[in-house]
């Protein structure tokens, strides 16, 4: 029979009967599953595989990017002029706000008796592109086109122009996987700007909704309140906008309030994100990359209770 033709002179996996071969592959799969549950090993295997898979990921994401590029190309002149005018206006407004902010910051330092200015919190930033998105009920993740070779580290904060997007969950050599704040596994320590109430915002699997499941019914939270990161947990610095409360309901039978919020960042439409590096000497900087890298996976899901040791 033609099927067994090459068997005599070329020993390979093909020569095994389907039964034993299936056994080998099944064992290999089970071993992979076992190691993926353990910290460290699974990450190392994934690191290698992520490098191999990156070209495919780029291919998968390309129809969406092509569509966006085509639309951009065919935008009309008047549309562009309108956008230009809008941006110029926005730029003026932002410059004005920045000026006021600088004055306030100087005043704040003076009031606190600090004579020398602190180093800027954000030391460096870098724009990265989204190459692929996975926005399902069970996973809300983005793949970006930069990785360890660009200095990215695990648990690094990711923002867009409007607010917090999430954190880097996996880092490959040239790509990274961002766990969005709307991922069901994500949890962000937040603070209500108006009342200073602190809580945790968790993802729901929907790109336009966050939940605050741990607020007592007596907490001072109203619809319309702005949520910012509280800086607890050591992953995000304080003060990054997270979202706006859309619903705050109190059920007399329940101890906890039902609080929902809409993310400030354009979770499902941002194509460019910003990675942040923080200066270590700033008091409100999050933990250093070494500390975050040594933590078990998804450090935000279980907020760190002790301050990380200084390095």
């Amino acid at each position: 029979m033609a099927l067994g033709g090459g068997a005599m002179n070329r020993p390979s996996a093909r020569d095994l009967a389907p039964g034993p071969r299936c056994f080998v592959f099944a064992m290999l799969s089970l071993a992979l599953m076992y190691f993926d549950q353990r910290d460290g090993w699974g990450e190392r295997i994934r690191y290698g595989l992520a490098a191999v898979a990156y070209p495919i990921q780029v291919t998968i994401g390309s129809p969406g990017r092509m569509w966006a590029a085509t639309r951009e190309y065919f935008r009309s002149r008047s549309e562009l002029r309108e956008e230009n005018r809008h941006l110029r206006e926005q730029g003026r407004e932002l410059a004005l706000r920045a000026m006021r902010l600088e004055a306030l910051e100087a005043e704040n330092l003076r009031l606190r008796g600090l004579h020398e200015a602190l180093p800027p919190l954000v030391e460096r930033s870098r724009i990265v592109n989204v190459v692929n998105a996975d926005l399902g009920r069970l996973r809300q993740r983005l793949i970006i086109d930069a990785g360890e070779n660009d200095g990215l580290y695990r648990s690094q904060a990711v923002i867009d122009a409007r607010g917090l997007m999430g954190q880097l969950a996996r880092v490959g050599p040239w790509s990274g996987e961002v766990m969005l704040i709307t991922d069901p596994e994500a949890a962000v320590p937040v603070e209500v700007v108006r009342s200073g109430v602190r809580s945790i915002a968790v993802g729901t699997g929907a790109a336009d909704e966050l939940e605050l499941p741990l607020l007592p019914a007596t907490a001072d939270v109203r619809a319309g309140d702005l949520l910012v990161t509280s800086g607890l947990g050591g992953v995000f610095p304080p003060g990054i906008p997270v979202g706006t409360v859309t619903e705050s309901r109190r059920d007399p039978d329940e101890l906890l309030a039902v609080v929902r919020a809409r993310p400030a960042a354009a979770i499902d439409s941002s194509r460019q994100l910003m990675m942040l590096w923080f200066s270590r000497s700033h008091p409100s900087a999050p933990a250093s990359p070494e500390v975050l890298g040594a933590l078990p996976e998804a450090p935000v899901a279980q907020p760190v209770t002790r301050p990380p040791e200084a390095h």
Binding site: F35, D36, A50, I60, R137
Partner: protein, 160 residues
């Protein structure tokens, strides 16, 4: 080019599986993603049935592993399910290959059902979210699409 006497080129198998992989994982709107068939699995099943020598278990395992990495699932989960299904398809290929398309589609339905049940069980055991009914939607869709897959891939070679 490939006559009945020659084997199917493994290269053809790998290329079609790669294309199917990309098509399967395209980012889609949520309602469409739920209905989207698992084209990689259908392609792997096709080659295991029609050309078990060219396809074989290695294709199944590698396709499953690639699926794991690209979809962010637990490593080895799809690799295991793909390997087992490929094994079943190769074992039964003499039986199923001769059947009319309609009966083949029923085999495919059962295979996809077993596949999703295995993934569901692994998700449950490893404490991951097992999802709602949406994850089962691709099973009937895949079975209905089987004749289309056979028609398309059948044009690329000369099925025996």
């Amino acid at each position: 080019m490939y006559t009945a006497a020659t084997r199917e080129s493994p290269l053809l198998v790998w290329i079609t599986v790669l294309i199917a992989l990309v098509l399967t994982l395209l980012p889609l709107p949520e309602w469409l993603a739920a209905l989207w068939p698992n084209l990689v699995l259908l392609t792997v099943l096709y080659w295991s049935t029609m050309a078990p020598a060219a396809g074989g278990m290695l294709v199944g395992f590698v396709a499953g592993l690639a699926f794991d990495v690209l979809s962010g699932a637990q490593l080895g989960q799809h690799a295991l399910a793909f390997s087992l299904l490929t094994y079943g398809a190769i074992k039964l290929h003499l039986l199923t290959r001769a059947k009319p398309l309609f009966e083949q589609a029923i085999f495919v339905l059962l295979a996809l059902l077993a596949y999703e049940a295995l993934l569901w069980a692994i998700d449950g055991v490893s404490d991951r979210g097992t999802g709602g009914w949406a994850r089962w939607m691709h099973v009937p869709v895949g079975a209905i699409l089987w004749p289309v897959v056979v028609g398309l891939l059948g044009r690329l070679h000369a099925p025996r």
